[in-house]
Structures are given as C-alpha cells and as structure tokens.
Symmetry: C2
Subunit: 114 residues, 2 copies
C-alpha cells in the first residue's frame, strides 16, 4: 500500500525511516501510547482507520489489537509542524498498554501532580 505522495513529502523520518505516533483517546483525552510508524504503517492506518505501527524489535508491522483485541478505531490523524510526529485520535477498545493498564503512562510517576 503506498502513502499519498503529498503526505509522504511532508514527513521527516529518522535514520531508520521512522517517525513517532502518539495515540490519544477521543473520549477521555488520555495520551494512551507512543509508538513508531513508517510510511507503510501510516498508509495502512489512513486506509483502514485501525492503528497500525512498526515494531523495531520484531521488525514487522502490527495492527494494535490484532492479538489482544484491544483495537484502536482511528477517528482523526494530524501531522505536527516539523513533520516528525503524527497524532492519532482514537477510540480504544480495552487497555492500550501491553501491561494491561489503560495507558502506557499509568504506572510510573516521576513528578506527582501538585
């Protein structure tokens, strides 16, 4: 699947051809997770409206929830001002984090809310 060239031309990738993807839950505004994408993963996400990412460790694409059922229905996608991060606004099915927590930021507070 090829990415719209007009979008591809606005992306700024790292040396591995990847850029960051932030997933935010539409209903709560919670920042759920941050993962990596390449052009193919973004093209699949835009086409299927299912959060699709690139796993550097497994060196393969993964559709969020394809094994866990914790799918992300992608409501909206935005690119940031310097083209190296996309923001997905999603409806998250179940837990977003592989540890089972709602978001990947639930467990480790470095500076508590004042």
């Amino acid at each position: 699947m090829s990415l719209d060239p007009a979008i591809a031309s606005r992306l700024k990738r790292n040396e591995a051809g990847l850029f960051s993807a932030v997933a935010q839950e539409r209903s709560t505004g919670d920042v759920l997770m941050v993962a990596w994408m390449d052009d193919e993963a973004l093209a699949r996400t835009l086409d299927t409206r299912k959060g699709t990412y690139y796993s550097r460790s497994r060196q393969q694409y993964w559709v969020k929830g394809e094994t866990s059922g914790h799918t992300q229905y992608v409501h909206e996608v935005r690119l940031d001002c310097d083209g190296d991060t996309v923001l997905l606004v999603v409806d998250q099915e179940g837990a977003a984090c592989h540890t089972g927590t709602h978001t990947c930021f639930d467990s480790d507070v470095l500076l508590a809310a004042d």
Copy 2:
C-alpha cells in the same frame, strides 16, 4: 544537575542519548507538542517545573518560553512502560507551537474526524 539515578536506570535512550517528551495541556487535554530530552533536560524539568528540552539542531538545552514567553509550568511527569517516552502535563502560557498555533498539530490534518 544530575538526574535521580533511580529514574535514570528506568530510561531507554536512543543512540544519541535522547528520548521523546510529549507535552499535554492540563486544562484542555490537548497534545501540545513532542520534543526530545536527555537526562539533563529531564532533571532540570523535574527540578524547576519548567518544560526543558534538548534541541538536536542547535545541540543545546532550551527552556520552553525563555525567548517567546510561552512557558510551560509542569504539573506532572510520567514515564511510559518501556521507558522511552515521558509525558508532561503542563499549564501552557500562550501558543505552544513556534508557528504561533496553540498546538503543533493544529495545521496539518491527514485524516479528518469522521
């Protein structure tokens, strides 16, 4: 300024010693921007409660708002499950984006909200 070794031991940095930092506005939940930090920038952020990042292009630390006045008062900081992204919940003074928009994601919609 040195980072608490207990926190430093939980961080997973890239080859350049950096990790991602997502800034989210406390009052609106808007994802404002994504930038880079190293241990020093995180230590300063935790110590001063002012969003402090590392600029790869200028190869120097920058406190958000030190020239623009668009400072981030850091309300809370969380680390994600695999240690390579921190989430800052902030009170943002003025625009977060260097282009003048409220967030860095305001201007480029790749997939419109359905």
